[in-house]
Symmetry: D2
Subunit: 342 residues, 4 copies
């Protein structure tokens, strides 16, 4: 395979490292540059000793990045910093952005949720939302793809097919979501210390989480009306994995049929046998999402479960999947490894 040359910006974070992990076993990608401002000058193996056996370019700072000959840039920077960085790139380079910066189509919504005006609204216009299974054609032709939030992806896999087919009551959607701690990143904070996270469980950002903006946007579009879901995320004492338990008004039989039919030919979204429900541990480290549909004991109520690995299908795996499309490679290339268990 003729290798496409990529750069990864933000290589010393967890999503950056996950991109490196996936890219180094991807037959169609070659890592040309690794950018990490804070750690510029170091070898990747000094920041992530698990890469010790690999030959990788030394970490550089953004100024030193030469985009000549680069086919695609993965931008894994913190929210709000990505927009100015991407703005500085020549039009010729394709970009997969993993931050929240280009996810919201409406700049006013962006400002409302993130508290300041968007710095590159003209780029926002060309950005395609990166939920591959629902924007595949647009992604194929896109120059800039905005990968979804990992929580959003998990919820949307459970809900978008039902919205498209009007299988549930749009006024009564509750997403109770539980996520691993790696989604909070590698920057030291008291709240993500081992002593604070392990052997305990709590909710966070109840009813105000920024991923609500993505739910609002995507579900309103899919349902064809303004949607406001209830969304409560919780922090799990584990590193990887998100599981959403979605409470719906709708018939389990119909919901199951819709799911099965919608995902029948999707390589990475697996619908479990009716009545079964998934576990985060069965997708750990993989690009697969598992969906389960279980009837409630109450008539006309159904529970839909959705799970994925936040660093893989929820961000870096999704990013590679989108990059495959943008680069004309087979969509599944480099992403079919089975999950790691136990």
């Amino acid at each position: 395979m003729d290798k496409k040359r990529i750069a990864i910006i933000g290589a010393s974070g967890y999503t950056g490292a996950e991109l490196v992990r996936l890219a180094t076993s991807h037959p169609g990608l070659e890592i040309a540059s690794l950018v990490a401002d804070r750690n510029a000058g170091l070898e990747m193996r000094e920041v992530f000793p698990g890469f010790r056996h690999l030959e990788l370019p030394r970490l550089i700072d953004l100024e030193a990045l030469d985009l000549a000959g680069i086919d695609l840039v993965f931008c894994a920077l913190p929210h709000a910093t990505s927009q100015t960085v991407v703005k500085s790139f020549p039009e010729s380079v394709k970009v997969v952005d993993l931050s929240a910066d280009f996810r919201l189509r409406d700049p006013a919504e962006y400002e409302r949720w993130y508290g300041k005006p968007h710095a590159a609204p003209e780029l926002q216009e060309q950005a395609v939302y990166g939920l591959t299974e629902f924007y595949r054609d647009e992604i194929r032709g896109a120059r800039l793809v905005a990968c979804t939030g990992c929580n959003s992806a998990t919820g949307l896999y459970a809900l978008l097919p039902l919205a498209e087919s009007n299988a549930v009551d749009p006024e009564e959607i509750i997403i109770d979501l539980k996520t691993g701690v790696s989604g909070a990143g590698r920057s030291p904070k008291e709240g993500t210390l081992h002593s604070e996270v392990s052997e305990g469980f709590h909710a966070y950002s109840v009813a105000v989480h920024r991923h609500l903006a993505e739910f609002d946007q995507e579900l309103s579009r899919a349902f064809g009306m303004q949607i406001r879901v209830t969304f409560v995320p919780h922090l799990l004492p584990q590193n990887r994995g998100i599981l959403a338990t979605v409470y719906l008004r709708g018939e389990a039989g119909l919901i199951y049929e819709v799911m099965q039919s919608r995902y029948a030919h999707e390589p990475f979204v697996v619908v479990l046998p009716k009545g079964e429900h998934p576990s985060t541990r069965h997708v750990r480290g993989s690009n697969y999402a598992h969906i389960g549909v279980v009837p409630d004991r109450r008539e006309g109520k159904t529970i839909v479960f959705s799970t994925l690995d936040n660093l893989a299908k929820g961000s870096s795996g999704q990013a590679i999947q989108n990059a495959n499309l943008m680069l004309g490679l087979p969509e599944t290339t480099g992403l079919e490894s089975a999950p790691l268990f136990p």
Copy 2:
């Protein structure tokens, strides 16, 4: 304090050990007998080395148990075995039962959920449901108290005050519950191995969990109408702690007032400041339950959180609290230790 003499049956399980832990720092209780059929003949320190420094009676089998001089028996046996054991006791001995055997007032309900007729329906009639804060007076005079399921207690603390005051729509109650693995007991099963539980998360017994029977019974009684809630329990990769996220139709302001007023004088149920929500790690090892009330962003919807330690307030702490009442001791005796964190 003149010590009351107790026996603990089922001393080699986790709730049995928790009873021993609590009883040995309780100034009013003296452990007279420890019964554990499978481990009879062993010292408690051989089964739980953490008790090595304590002088405790040797484990005996049930046949060897002499109830003369025993004031109260804690029965921490597996479900279905407790009823015949308690049946064999003389009327003079008080019993706190930690199994599910005496929780359901209606023997028909018992048979429906547990698949066989109740073996001691005459005892069922005198049994008092052990949710202390709601049955305090009956417990004080009871001969037999049936401690609640740990999941049930967690949900009922969030719901019973609202039922009593009609603060929420009884048709729209969803309990999304997450529980630590110690509730599954010490018997070896594949599903509770470290390799199967750690670093992962999943639901179990979706919409069919037996604790539903307790929810039905207690909520129907409190609401004064037949109630059917939606209940989905999940297994957390941690040992202790349950957190219920309860989705309700009702005004947060009213709900908060009801909670505050109902629990204002309760020693062990703490209502957090409005808008705050609890964590299992802040009740670990203690007899306290924490309740939080948070308004949803959607009008007229509220999220109530309830958390407790399944082995303490959820079973053995609750059992001691009830025993205190039954024995005429101050209710909080031996139960006021602060939680262990981290």
Copy 3:
């Protein structure tokens, strides 16, 4: 019991919180002041929500601390800051210091290991090393006690009796130690994030850890000759607990006899039956240390295991035990709770 009034400085760290936990169930202590510079003005329950049910003084900064009427101060500050703080106290107030500042008798040793001169060498002279079982009489009469390092305590319980009785070869001592992450404190660092610690294991500070200074000092004194041990600490993916595996040249029979005899009347150091070895989980949250002696298969070699809870017997429990002695209270007061398991 007539209560002694205490102040806790550094109340918002883990050892500070552990002091509060233990003091609030101690019948002879009353918490008069809680000092925490960074969090001054907050309630303790805002920093540690597990204390929500307790009435505690509001956190103040050091300048606001009034020592009038205070019997004893627990100083749980970071290393190097404690010496100047303690220096400012009037002679009349007793001090239990939990930092490393007063552990090394020789100021030159302090400077060598900590890289700068000691700021209060005159206080160092009066400080007593806080390993209760070996300095009980001095502690009883001390004004200033320097609690040991948690790693040091674990190793010294295994070694000091053997040194006193010359039961092992002092030239061949290897301490392979494993410690939980709470010992690293609550300040956010990349290395103690959940994602970095859980599901993994590694050594740290190999052969250069500062606790070596304590080993050198105490073992040289006990053996009556200059001792240099090999010491390799490792970080466990758990919060509480230290276990030292100590490799020795010496006869297991003699070693066991020495241990048994030395600790026979100690309330908190338990020697397991010969050939058994301990687990950190059986001392969790308690003030007990467990010691095991196992013969190696090689003649004349013995393995001694020592375990304790780093936050309890390793620091805050030890501190309370010493304070009991200094205040004329029974040594075991408030410290006899059984460990929390599971």
Copy 4:
């Protein structure tokens, strides 16, 4: 690549599942049969839901296994059952055995450590010990390869190069080893429950572990004299990963040179820069072993660290590596994925 057809016996255990995981992303292997007596009749996805997206043969029992057309059998059965199974195979089929059955060259040693006579001593004679880096040529031509114990492999990587070059004192070798719990397998036992393992740490099989037999055999052979090491394994509260801390009498400079030179061209054994030491988390899920050499502060003493993933390089990865050699495939095929972190 023309695919070789393999069968996996014992497919429902952890090493069996790891073989399936690795084989399904191996370009040269095709899984022809999966044998699992207890679960015969089930689909692999029912036993390990993480394989749900894969097309795999249904699990069969051993009697139904047809070896016609099978190039190689992986036998991942419990100890003592493997020998009779392998005995029943035709000579034409190659076998990689993951049990302990064929590791000890001397049948008398086998009987001494495993308590009964070997059932297939004639097969033992042709078995090659599966530590690839030290038996590569023999493995290439072998019909039957006995994969090493995972603990043994970890220790031997640290010691064999030093034995071959006489760089250390053979009389003074101490292996303090820490291992994840997945090595104990998927059969339910009290000791491997989550509640018993998490948040705790202890030694096991002190000085009597059966892997000692492998150490004795391999080290005696390498040193050219009878060797008896001290070996203490401990159980970590994590699923994957082994780390051995090996205490040696020998010069760190020489030891480092020996290591570097011995492993310079090995694809899967990585020697860290001098003075650095490894972490289990940096090899998780991968076929890499990391070795670190650190001088002790005591003259002439050195600490060597060795780490690997017990299910990968410690058993199933090692098995695939050996199978590659036996089947004439490039040795590294299918094994070069980077570790999963976090």
